[in-house]
């Protein structure tokens, strides 16, 4: 079995298919289009499965933290619970809200999903298992995931509902505030990796002590600040003020039902996986690891981070919106930039492994 798993390398299939298409005499652009299109659809399938799994897992984690079981009645420990949810959401009516802004209301979930989806172009799932190794990889991911904010703001504005507007405004403010410390923590890694490409970043931490989290003392600081900022970026508790149930009922998605709501839901869990995957790539050595196939290492590490974020959600109270902003600007931003200067100085002096 492990042999089979190890030979499963997407890039090989891709190369083979690419060669086949090229032999058929299609123009190269068409070959690119078709192959990337197929990969895109495949990626969607993987992400949808992943999101279904994550939703189920979240409910199980919540259940067990709260001394109950979570879904139990649909299959073994409720494993097809989220499939039932998906089928349900598919046939849920899409309510025509009279006062909404039709265009903005419609495109917000689409943009939200696409923004989350785009990040997966350059996330290295394993050795050679990456859609396109863009040379500005991490910068690109930062750029596209920020579109989610615009989508949430659109959702808040387009719904013409005060609670939704609050949610949208809050999410925008939160995302722009935590963007800065997040990028600053990422920069500490980039100084050492010397490249923005995700593959290069992983390859520059090729042993356990080469992982950036093990680079004393700035590595752990950068990791912790990144995790905090990432939790906020992914709108997870204790930073889930855009959809704070007890304050804003459901926040920006208050007027969405059916498939449109499902897209927000999906995007939320995809984003959760994205930020965890970035954390793994930047700080925990990406796919590096002995014995097991690289993609499995990547998956295990990422799910570990996801689990951490889930535990945050089910243990901490929620921050208030002003405390959240002050925390970002008055604590995280100074700390991350000081850490950045520290890391640069140590790099210059050569005091590092």
């Amino acid at each position: 079995m492990p042999l089979v798993l190890m030979s499963l390398e997407l890039i090989e299939i891709f190369r083979w298919a690419y060669g086949l298409l090229a032999e058929l005499g299609l123009p190269p652009v068409w070959v690119m289009l078709i192959s990337y299109g197929v990969i895109g659809v495949l990626m969607f399938g993987v992400l949808a499965l992943l999101a279904l799994f994550l939703v189920w897992w979240e409910r199980k984690v919540a259940g067990h933290v709260q001394q109950r079981f979570g879904p139990m009645r649909n299959g073994w420990h409720g494993w097809y619970q989220t499939i039932a949810d998906a089928i349900k959401l598919l046939q849920k009516e899409d309510v025509d809200i009279i006062a909404r802004d039709k265009f903005v209301f419609f495109w917000a979930p689409v943009l939200c999903f696409v923004a989350a989806f785009l990040a997966y172009i350059c996330i290295p799932f394993g050795k050679d298992l990456i859609v396109a190794d863009l040379n500005i990889g991490i910068l690109y991911i930062m750029a596209v995931t920020t579109f989610t904010v615009i989508a949430l703001l659109m959702a808040g504005w387009g719904s013409n509902n005060k609670y939704a507007l609050f949610g949208g405004m809050r999410s925008a403010a939160q995302a722009i505030s935590y963007e800065v410390p997040m990028v600053a923590s990422i920069l500490t890694v980039i100084i050492y990796a010397g490249s923005l490409s995700m593959v290069d970043i992983v390859q520059s931490q090729n042993s356990f002590f080469g992982w950036f989290i093990c680079r004393m003392p700035f590595g752990p600081i950068a990791f912790v600040t990144y995790i905090i900022a990432a939790t906020a970026e992914a709108n997870r508790a204790p930073f889930d003020i855009p959809e704070a149930e007890q304050e804003l009922v459901a926040g920006f998605n208050i007027e969405y039902s059916g498939m449109k709501f499902a897209m927000f839901f999906l995007a939320e869990f995809i984003n959760l996986f994205t930020v965890s995957a970035i954390a793994v790539t930047l700080f925990l050595g990406g796919w590096e690891g002995p014995w097991l196939p690289s993609w499995l290492w990547f998956l295990l590490k990422t799910l570990g981070i996801v689990f951490l974020l889930m535990m945050f959600r089910w243990t901490y109270p929620r921050l208030r919106v002003d405390q959240l902003m002050e925390f970002a600007w008055k604590f995280l931003v100074p700390v991350t930039f000081a850490n950045l200067i520290l890391a640069a100085t140590m790099k210059y002096l050569g005091w590092y492994w």
């Binding site: 895109g40 659809v41 969607f44 849920k92 190794d133 863009l134 910068l139 920069l187 959240l324 640069a344």
Partner: protein
């Protein structure tokens, strides 16, 4: 550049898939609109007034600070990539650059701009 084509294709594929699921949902979902159903939900009450309101201008100040810092970050990215080859000069320069920005942040902090609403 061919790698960047993948971004465009992914945008198309992503949008296409979402619209496709919307279409499927449209085919199988019930549809029964009536005026009461479309009223904005505000905790089971009739909403008071329009919700497209003038929001607190404080909000934009956060956005402004963010823009400043984001521009800084854009400068920092190439610096960080090339840092290994640049040496002391680049380090000192960037420290000064960051410090100047922090004076700005400190100023904003003291003026009480960093308070949400």
């Amino acid at each position: 550049m061919s790698e960047y084509l993948s971004v465009l294709i992914f945008i198309a594929v992503g949008t296409g898939i979402v619209l496709f699921t919307f279409l499927i949902a449209r085919l199988i979902r019930p549809r029964n609109p009536y005026p009461e159903k479309g009223v904005a939900y505000e905790c089971a009450e009739e909403p008071i007034g329009d919700s497209w309101i003038k929001f607190n201008p404080h909000f934009y100040i956060f956005a402004l600070i963010f823009v400043i810092f984001d521009v800084e970050v854009v400068f920092l990215f190439p610096w960080a990539v090339a840092f290994g080859q640049l040496g002391l000069f680049a380090l000192v320069e960037m420290v000064i650059f960051i410090l100047i920005l922090f004076f700005g942040l400190y100023y904003a902090w003291k003026r009480g701009v960093l308070k949400w609403v």
